[in-house]
């Protein structure tokens, strides 16, 4: 009888210690998470300040929030956001139109040198686009594409296509071979195989491919800055234009940065699961 209480009490402290270790690491994780998020939080907070409260020492954490900075942003962002949406959506559609057949030719019914093909595509991602910016400018000038939204669509497509081909291919390899064989037995041609078997199965994969392309195209600055002026200037350039030569601008800048970043942040939050696969170009499932 006397041994019994001892035995039941014994796991108590042990469990308590496990518990507190667990809680301790949980707290560390929260602190790290909040610290990492802090600059984003500060950006959003500053966006709601009146300009006079944004540049103070010490920095102010309490203030009466105002939407005036956002109003200012929305009054000026029209052309920029239109260009960004057209360039992003246009290039993403083009990437899918070119990428799906190419991925098919490198996976389901592969060409002979499919490995070389894959590596050729990825090797173009490694060549720095910055190295050709001067000649690219001259080419754009001579083809009358300078400062046109088409130029951005063309270049963003080339920028995202290799990644998309690798990614879509990884989804196509997961289409069960029984399905493909069944459709072949049915006498379905290549086109019907694609539209009736492959596309329905990989459609979630195509959505995450599109999201990755949207993220990179929306955020791109280097090409837009070098090759556009007004007719095709995108959201990152809107941000630059919100920094004036003189005067207070921190709150206005923060509002513009928040507005410019929110679409991609939301897309990334929603698509967290497929983000890893997309960023690793299909290597991590």
């Amino acid at each position: 009888m006397s041994a019994l209480p001892l035995r039941t009490r014994e796991p108590g402290p042990q469990r308590f210690r496990d518990m507190s270790v667990k809680v301790g690491w949980g707290i560390v994780a929260w602190v790290v998470g909040i610290a990492f998020f802090l600059p984003v939080l500060w950006m959003v907070l500053t966006a709601f300040k009146p300009e006079s409260a944004a540049e103070t020492w010490p920095p102010r954490f309490t203030f009466s929030p105002t939407l005036s900075q956002f109003r200012l942003v929305f009054s000026g962002w029209g052309p920029y956001v239109t260009h960004s949406v057209i360039a992003t959506v246009g290039s993403t559609i083009l990437v899918l139109l070119l990428g799906v057949p190419a991925a098919y030719a490198l996976s389901v019914h592969p060409v002979k040198h499919w490995r070389d093909g894959l590596f050729f595509f990825i090797s173009t991602k490694m060549l720095p686009i910055v190295a050709v910016i001067g000649p690219l400018y001259v080419i754009a000038l001579k083809t009358h594409l300078l400062d046109s939204i088409w130029l951005l669509i063309i270049l963003y497509t080339a920028m995202n296509l290799p990644l998309a081909i690798w990614l879509i291919r990884s989804f196509m390899l997961e289409v069960p071979s029984e399905l493909l064989e069944a459709s072949e037995l049915d006498g379905a041609g290549r086109i019907r195989e694609m539209t009736e078997v492959i596309l329905p199965v990989i459609s979630p994969g195509l959505v995450s491919t599109a999201l990755i392309c949207v993220i990179f195209a929306w955020n791109e600055l280097f090409l837009a800055l070098n090759l556009t002026v007004t007719n095709a200037a995108t959201m990152p350039m809107f941000l630059i234009s919100s920094v004036p030569q003189e005067g207070l601008y921190i709150a206005h800048l923060s509002a513009a940065a928040t507005v410019a970043s929110v679409p991609v942040i939301l897309v990334g939050w929603i698509a967290q699961r497929s983000l890893v696969r997309g960023l690793s170009m299909g290597a991590i499932k």
Binding site: G26, V40, R115, F119, V243, I250, S254
Partner: protein, 314 residues
């Protein structure tokens, strides 16, 4: 949930080889690939050929008369000016430091997030957010609200540690730019390593625990070797993007003070936009491409090793 083992790549070809494909069949296979292939060749390769041509030309936007043959003089000036070498060096420092530190932090954060705790999903979401912020926005927000000497949040937070109104972007320009690169790319590394951790077989870890292995020994002997391909993948992909970093340099320091933060992308940008020197920029570009090809040859080999290559069907 795994970067598949490399053995599939090295495995012998399947025994049943498809019958010698007919001419028609070969073209049927090739056809879907052609649009993308031709597109990429035109858009990415032609500019490189044009760059090669301009690298032998004397061509300034602001000098009338257009381009004329200049022989190797552009290359000579690239090699003799210190500016190119210094930009190359800054590119190397920035990329290597940012990739390594981001990876170390990424591994640590992934280990934290691999444990169960209340609100794990929320913390994960908080940590990945910096990667999603538009780089131009991140650069401008860091340069202003965060790092400003007079009202920046960082100086305020570091006050208890004896930091007073430091003008980070003039006194620690290179470090500041690298910090922002790390801040944006740590989440990327973390996501990749976390995927690796979660694919780790639980029974092996359990067995190690039963055998009385400490946490550190378990990490060194089991977890780290298992994570290796993920870490290599993260470093490889991170380097591809980070070597091209431009937004932060242009918007935080504009390459300065002096040329303290001028990396290759910014140097080439300046050659074209401020010096109007297309020929000089082209020569520097060609050299950059050659250097990249050397590095990329190793990188591609790593790619082949790291990536899953389940053979394509039939």
């Amino acid at each position: 949930m795994a970067v598949v083992d490399t053995s599939t790549l090295l495995a012998p070809e399947p025994v049943v080889r498809p019958r010698e494909a007919s001419r028609r069949e070969r073209w049927q296979r090739r056809l879907p690939l052609l649009p993308a292939l031709i597109y990429i060749v035109i858009v990415t390769q032609i500019p490189f050929l044009v760059t090669l041509w301009y690298s032998f030309q004397n061509y300034f936007f602001d000098v009338p008369g257009g381009a004329h043959w200049a022989g190797l003089s552009n290359y000579k000036s690239v090699f003799t000016t210190a500016a190119f070498r210094s930009a190359l060096w800054h590119s190397v420092i920035m990329t290597v430091t940012a990739v390594i530190v981001a990876m170390i932090l990424g591994v640590l954060f992934a280990l934290l997030l691999d444990r169960k705790f209340i609100g794990r999903g929320v913390v994960r979401t908080l940590i990945i957010t910096p990667f999603l912020v538009m780089p131009a926005a991140a650069a401008l927000v860091w340069a202003g609200p965060m790092l400003d000497p007079n009202f920046g949040l960082l100086n305020y937070l570091l006050q208890p540690f004896g930091v007073h109104h430091v003008a980070w972007l003039s006194t620690h320009a290179l470090g500041s730019v690298i910090v922002v690169m790390i801040w944006q790319w740590t989440p990327f590394m973390m996501l990749i390593v976390l995927a690796g951790l979660q694919g780790q077989p639980a029974d092996v870890l359990e067995a190690a625990k039963v055998d009385g292995a400490g946490a550190l020994a378990t990490f060194r002997e089991l977890t780290f070797p298992f994570l290796r391909p993920y870490i290599e993948l993260g470093i490889l992909l991170g380097s591809i993007y980070l070597v091209n970093v431009f937004d932060q340099v242009r918007l935080m320091t504009n390459g300065g003070p002096g040329t303290a933060t001028t990396n290759l992308p910014f140097y080439l940008y300046e050659q074209v936009n401020n010096a109007f020197d297309v020929g000089g920029a082209a020569a520097a570009g060609v050299i950059t491409v050659i250097l990249t090809i050397i590095v990329a040859t190793f990188a591609l080999r790593l790619f082949a090793r790291v990536f899953q290559f389940e053979g394509a069907s039939s």
